[in-house]
């Protein structure tokens, strides 16, 4: 029986700077067999250990189609992430997982997908977008609404450019600068720029709770059914396996029942999710 609390060792094989405080880490398990058996779904998360500093949950940002490595995209905000940012390529960290339910991609087939991301919330959506793009024929029209604080804070800049071939991309920033010619304002301002048919579209979002709150309101106004709005929620999952209690929202544990819930499901939590 494998001890679920003991991480497997991974090597940081590449570090890419996305923004001044966000980096993408490409990770490969030291044990080749562990790497081979590491299967995950878009929207699932891992627990990352920086030994001596602790453990924290991160969404996987790469697509499961990548077999030889996986990636996480991390914002420097806490103890573990600050320690992680000091590490170099070649260094070892620990990984447990994958955990959580992930996005129910089979339910998205034959439908249009509206991806809505805020800040670092684009990380799990990147996994989903790349997964969808590699099975492009199974899905309808794809639209992305993404908001960042400033133009400097936009993650996956180059990749977003490549998505534009298949995805109708709309970006906004809270505060522009001299280089920014695009939209300024919170994510919801982008609703003016897009046209979606709520009858055959699923909305999939990840971002700060306040963003998800207002985006959900707009979606409901547009006529999206409550069970076609998918939210990826953030809580501090410490164990990842439904025991430590930290990620519980009312009746549900984000780590094992989520992190992806429909808006309809969150209404039954009793506690407010977003």
């Amino acid at each position: 029986m494998k001890n679920v609390y003991i991480p497997d060792i991974v090597t940081i094989s590449e570090i890419r700077e996305e923004t001044p405080d966000i980096k993408t880490f490409k990770l490969i398990f030291k044990d080749k067999e562990v790497q081979r058996n590491f299967n995950y779904k878009p929207g699932q998360f891992i627990e990352l250990s920086v030994f001596g500093y602790g453990e924290a949950p991160f969404s996987i940002s790469s697509s499961p189609n990548q077999q030889n490595f996986f990636e996480i995209t991390v914002k420097r905000v806490g103890d573990v992430t600050n320690a992680l940012f000091k590490l170099n390529e070649g260094n070892a960290v620990g990984v447990r997982g994958p955990f959580g339910n992930g996005f129910p991609t089979h339910k998205f087939e034959d439908k249009n997908i509206l991806f809505i991301g805020g800040g670092i919330g684009l990380a799990p959506l990147r996994s989903l977008i790349n997964f969808v793009l590699s099975n492009r024929e199974k899905y309808g029209e794809l639209t992305l609404m993404y908001g960042a604080r400033t133009p400097k804070d936009i993650v996956f800049k180059k990749e977003i450019e490549t998505w534009k071939k298949h995805v109708d991309v709309h970006l906004t920033v809270d505060v522009g600068d001299e280089t920014w010619k695009g939209t300024v304002g919170v994510v919801t301002v982008l609703f003016k720029e897009i046209e979606v048919d709520p009858k055959n579209t699923v909305a999939v979002m990840c971002g700060p709770p306040i963003m998800m709150h207002f985006v959900t309101k707009e979606l409901l106004k547009l006529g999206f059914p409550e069970d076609q709005i998918f939210l990826s929620l953030e809580r501090l999952m410490k164990c990842g396996i439904g025991i430590c209690g930290h990620c519980n929202i009312g009746r549900k544990y984000v780590c094992k029942h989520g992190p992806v819930f429909t808006y309809k499901e969150t209404k039954d939590f009793l506690e407010t999710a977003i």
Binding site: N3, V4, F51, V77, I243, C244, N248, E271
Partner: protein, 352 residues
């Protein structure tokens, strides 16, 4: 667990002999008294055991299976590129333990914790200790003013969850066998036990009735309606009072036999080359409990944390595990800094 229809009796003197035999082979835990406080501790002599104390030990027996603080693993950082991990489980696997003198409410508490720690995913430390520990329960003989197991249906007697069950019937304990392990103890110590008579069973039933009588002063009823009523009153004003009163000290969390939340952190040696990952009991009443990196706290208001604990005892676990997570031991009432009586809250919810 298969229940075997065989009853034995054990004289109180001979229980001492049995415990002395256990001490040669097992680590033995039971209720002891130190400075007027009753606690489950490891004993080295059977005379340390206190089997007839009023109520239950201050901290529940969960600490024997899920210690307040425990090392999940150790690590050595060879260089930045390589880390070696040490698993403490091998040592835990070697332990052989007996827990004697645990009351039915607390046994019930362990069976509830089992649902959390031993589900699809198994907590290896907890399950190993559960497997390594023989449970010798004692029918409650002395409830206190805090007890309300008649409401939670977890006492004063019990039907399963033990290896052996003792009931004080005067000179003797009536002994019921709850498992193969329990049967083995009887078989390998057959010189100490005698077969019970029908009269002994009558005495046991009398004893249980006496305790039930004492418990009946607690008049809380309507456990079946609690779940639905809680759902209805989630946003009710009745919580305001408790949001104001509670000081969020977390004592009720730690004293609860079914609270299982923990924090996880690393501790480094001064060399900065070696360290350990530790888990430690945590409390949903603490402000920091729902804090995520970046500073957001999801339960800022104290009222939301008071509600969290109540709902995570009487509502959420009904969805998840099919039962409430309260055994009526009354520890949370006993330890509460603010003098909050959970039975009063339940009465309000139930409209009593």
């Amino acid at each position: 667990m298969q229940k075997m229809e065989k009853y034995m009796v054990l004289s109180k003197k001979k229980l001492g002999v049995l415990v002395e035999r256990f001490l040669k082979e097992f680590q033995v835990y039971g209720p002891t008294e130190k400075n007027g406080i009753i606690a489950f501790e490891k004993i080295s002599d059977w005379s340390e055991l206190r089997l007839d104390v009023a109520g239950v030990p201050l901290l529940p027996p969960k600490k024997i299976f899920f210690p307040p603080e425990e090392v999940l693993f150790t690590f050595k950082i060879r260089n930045n590129n390589d880390v070696e991990i040490g698993d403490p489980l091998d040592k835990i696997k070697e332990e052989k333990r007996v827990l004697i003198g645990i009351r039915p409410c607390d046994v019930h508490g362990l069976t509830l914790l089992d649902k959390v720690f031993i589900s699809e995913i198994v907590d290896p430390y907890y399950v190993t200790r559960r497997k390594n520990t023989i449970i010798i329960c004692i029918t409650c003989n002395n409830p206190t003013e805090y007890c309300f197991c008649n409401f939670t249906k977890s006492g004063p007697s019990i039907k399963e969850g033990f290896d052996l069950l003792l009931t004080d019937i005067g000179q003797f304990f009536l002994v019921e066998i709850g498992s193969e392990k329990g049967k083995d103890i009887i078989n390998s110590n057959s010189d100490l036990f005698q077969e019970a008579t029908e009269n002994d069973l009558i005495k046991r039933d009398q004893k249980i009735r006496e305790v039930e009588e004492k418990l009946s002063r607690n008049q809380l009823t309507g456990a079946n309606e609690l779940y639905q009523k809680l759902i209805r009153v989630f946003n009710d004003e009745l919580w305001n009072e408790y949001g104001r009163k509670c000081v969020a000290c977390g004592k009720c969390n730690f004293a609860c036999p079914t609270c299982h939340c923990f924090d996880v952190y690393d501790v480094m040696e001064l060399t900065l080359k070696e360290g350990k990952r530790v888990r430690k009991w945590d409390a949903c009443h603490f402000l920091s409990f729902t804090r995520v990196a970046g500073g957001e706290i999801f339960r800022k208001e104290r009222i939301s944390r008071v509600k969290q604990r109540i709902y995570d005892k009487y509502c959420y676990p009904v969805d998840e595990f099919g039962s409430i997570f309260c055994v009526g031991c009354g520890r949370c009432i006993h330890v509460c800094t603010a003098g909050i009586d959970i039975r009063e809250i339940l009465k309000k919810v139930l409209g009593m």
